[in-house]
Amino acid sequence: MTEQLDAGLVAERIAESDALGTPSAAHEVGRARRRKEDARLVTGRTTWTDNIQLPGMMYVAFLRSPMAHARITRVDTSAARDRPGVVAVYDGRDLADEQGSLPCAWPVSEDVLIPDHPPMAVDEVRYVGEAVACVVATDRYRAADALEAIEIDYEPLDAVLDMTEALTAGSPRVHEGASAGNRAFTWRFSGGDIEEAFRDAPVVIERTYVQQRLIPTAMEPRAVVATTDGDSFTLYSATQIPHVLRVMLALTTGIPEHKLRVVAPDVGGGFGSKLQVTAEEVLALLLTRRLGRPVKWTESRSEGNLTAHHGRDQLQRIRVAADRDGRVRGVQVNLLADMGAYLMLITPGVPLLGAFMYNGIYKMDAYDFTCTGVFTTKVPTDAYRGAGRPEATFAIERAMEELAHELGMDPVELRRRNWITHEEFPYTTICGLTYDSGNYEAATERALALLGYDKLRAEQADRRDRRDPVQLGIGVSTFTEMCGLAPSRVLGSLSYGAGGWEHASVRMLPTGKVEVVTGSSPHGQGHETAWSQIVADALGVPFEDVSVLHGDTAVSHKGMDTYGSRSLVVGGVAVLAACEKVKERARILAAHMLEASADDVEFADGTFTVRGTGVGKTIQELALATFAAHDLPDGFEPALDADATFDPDNFSFPHGTHLCAAEVDTETGAVRIRAYVAVDDVGSVVNPLIVEGQVHGGIAQGVAQALFEEAVHDAEGNLLTATMADYLIPAASDLPAFVTDRTETPSTTNPLGVKGVGEAGTIASTPAVVNAVVDALRPFGVNDVRMPCTPERVWRAVTEAGTPADGPPVSGAPATGSSAAGSSAAGSPDTGSPDTGSPDTGSPDTGSSTTGTGAGTGSEGGDR
């Protein structure tokens, strides 16, 4: 009784004060709201994992293998233990009994070989950078110092670096005793009669493309803090997947799941690189368990380049059969995918995510796909922005470009003849996916207009006629992708170890404010803002009255986290579903309080009103009423809060048309992007500002693969691009401004009408850029330039192709001033951008007025 009275008193005071929010009629979804997240980020009040300092915290440093493949024959850590500040030193044998094996959650086939993967190597190392020992010390400097005192003897074994050689019978084996040699798995998929499609096909295009190895490079290096009170454990990690990580760590370490809390504080980007269960996370937990003290490990960038998983690294053989009129009959793909030394969380699944996308947006009679995963003595590959889909899109869009050239057809026209028309949606593809909606015609028309396609084609012809040393190329990429991972049943059919649902809770606080708990785990995507917009509209509360909580398993107990462009289309929809449940409960309460039938109560703009009267209750009043709980319907729980778990019925299929106009200096090999136009269709848009930002960043990463980035190993398996000085992340001076626009064809498979956007730009842009480079060089007989299209590679392609009789002259050597063009081995890391040393190409303004200004002309490498 007393308790109830107190609560009532509090409720009265809240009601009398200004604290109780008022409904909002503002339409939030679709507004370019500035982000709530920014306040802490622009002022430096963030909580990056490395910012966390706990009393008594120790620092961990890892000694790492200097060899790509070797047997560990002797380890002596005794001298290191005597170094100042050192608390403990362990090698793999010390931890062998408790460290378990790092998990692979995607055993793609029955024949898949999942080798034991100790977090710290015990007997054998299989890539440069693999952890072999660790030091725990009082500060980071002392921990690093003591590593020098550890002695390890290695017996070298043969490195295995080339996928094709690795599959030969005589190849040394990455995993001794593996009956399948270095083959991790073979996975096949087909639709239609591929033999029939190729039989008597008038045109067959056959190409091999190299998807170079990439280093994802989120700006925040990985970091882990682990602590225990002796009973339960807390792990802070720069991770994309706190929920998945918690489950996996419980299974790996034996710490019961309910005794383990995982927190992803502010996380500085991921791009797939933090979609992982890492050796360092497992080891940090083991160390805090052993020592009873908090430990922290933060990688240096060089350490991260060596040891955080890499991306791409596939060898793609694609064949396209077509009729003379351009109609595609069938596509056959044979893929080798470099797994690296072990199968990590979804390593073998990455190429499968591309398997259903090599048909792109096109209709065809048959499709056949075979992928072989191959072990090499390199750091494992795993998800990197797009994960499988950029590879697939690159291959089909490059092949379509080649087919158009073969047929003498405009590449846009070829696509028109093959794409699914907007009247044909929903359309079930040869791969069995049902694309719910799209309008490829509209996006393409808009993109062509924005670029000034015809005018640039005319300029291209003019430059060819004039034999201009700077040739112009126009690259086309009309893409779609499957994202919004994913319907759980489909994931099950692909042997993935978990579902694809997402969870949300909506809590109505007594003062009418709203807490939203999401199982998505943002690391730059702006969920706090976008989810607030969804909730504001759904509940009719002010945008400012919504807080979004995430990234802590103690706060958000259930989640599937953030990757695969899934957050909005799965997690955002879960938030909406939870809001609907809140509203249904509130409607019952409102009817009770208004003495009306629930059927007669309408909801609009945050107020429940009896139909035909002006009498109503705001959602804030109803929230307060459940707090007081003095007058509720019989049997009504005193709460409006609701949980929802949403499992999508289908993938999400954003699409778009990306066009790149590139100037290629045939004398220096320098490539300058003169204009880049992207028209994306991501369905309905919650926040256009965030969508535009995602597209911009995605394009930049796709351009980076096309022109700049490659992880390069030497013949012994040493990573030559182990620092940011050697692995060329593009700077502002290396990229143009991007012109972006959208068409909106709402998704029909979720109530928000939204489609994923996080990976779209990356998936679309790489082939657009390479198609532009190749298009510029067609007069020289060049049909391909391997990525990244560095000045050296472009120059060599021009030089080695020779000069056709009617083509432009091939003249000169690479510009001596260009360090990139002058660097030695193919694939060597560039120290400058392709723009470095590029002469002024004259008239950047001659194109369409909508084109962006190509940047970087004359820019120098500076201190990079």
Binding site: V42, D139, G268, H696, A732, V739, T853
Partner: protein, 185 residues
């Protein structure tokens, strides 16, 4: 052990430091100024950029002892009370950050850039920021933000936009809240 005396965001510190201690680790691990992050170990990324006596430096490439007698301003020292620096507001308004890890360094470098060129062209901004890497934004919005910040900083104090957070969108908000538009840089 050597001593270093320096001012960080208006507070004077006297610290005994190892000669090898990097300024950024002094700031982060000793002084708790964690607003300045570390993104690499080769001074390429610029995330750790601070102003040292008014000039931008990468604090991973400065020894703490080198900062002796200096005035250090980090991103945490830019705002005046609750009022953000115009460059902080510009980054917010132009959506020039996503994960935000590069943002402190990007803002500090941008402020330094404007010392020499108070009204930089797009090309000048791109060239001036080439020592700062961002992996999220593709730079288009960063360039817009720096130019917007420059315009704001050149206006007399009374005419500037009011304080920061999103409650009060600036004049650009209306323009950008139009959907589906194409902006030419």
């Amino acid at each position: 052990m050597p001593r270093t005396s320096l001012t960080v965001d208006g507070v004077r510190y006297d610290e005994e430091v190892e000669p090898r201690l990097l300024l950024v680790h002094l700031l982060r691990d000793r002084l708790g100024r964690t607003g300045t992050p570390v993104g690499c170990d080769t001074s390429n990324c610029g995330a750790c950029t601070v102003l040292l006596d008014g000039v931008s430096v990468k604090s991973c490439s400065v020894l703490a002892v080198q900062a002796d007698g200096s005035d250090v301003v980090t991103v945490e020292g830019l705002a005046e009370g609750t009022e953000w620096h115009p460059m902080q507001r510009a980054f917010h308004e132009e959506h020039a950050l996503q994960c935000g890890y590069c943002t402190p360094g990007m803002i500090m470098a941008a402020i330094d850039l404007l010392r020499d060129d108070p009204d930089p062209s797009e090309e000048a901004v791109r060239a001036g920021l080439e020592g700062n890497l961002c992996r999220c934004t593709g730079y288009t919005n960063i360039v817009r933000a720096v130019r917007r910040g420059a315009r704001e900083m050149s206006r007399p104090d009374g005419e500037r936009e009011t304080a920061g957070p999103s409650a009060t969108p600036g004049p650009g908000a209306a323009r950008q809240e139009t959907e589906g538009q194409v902006r030419t840089p």
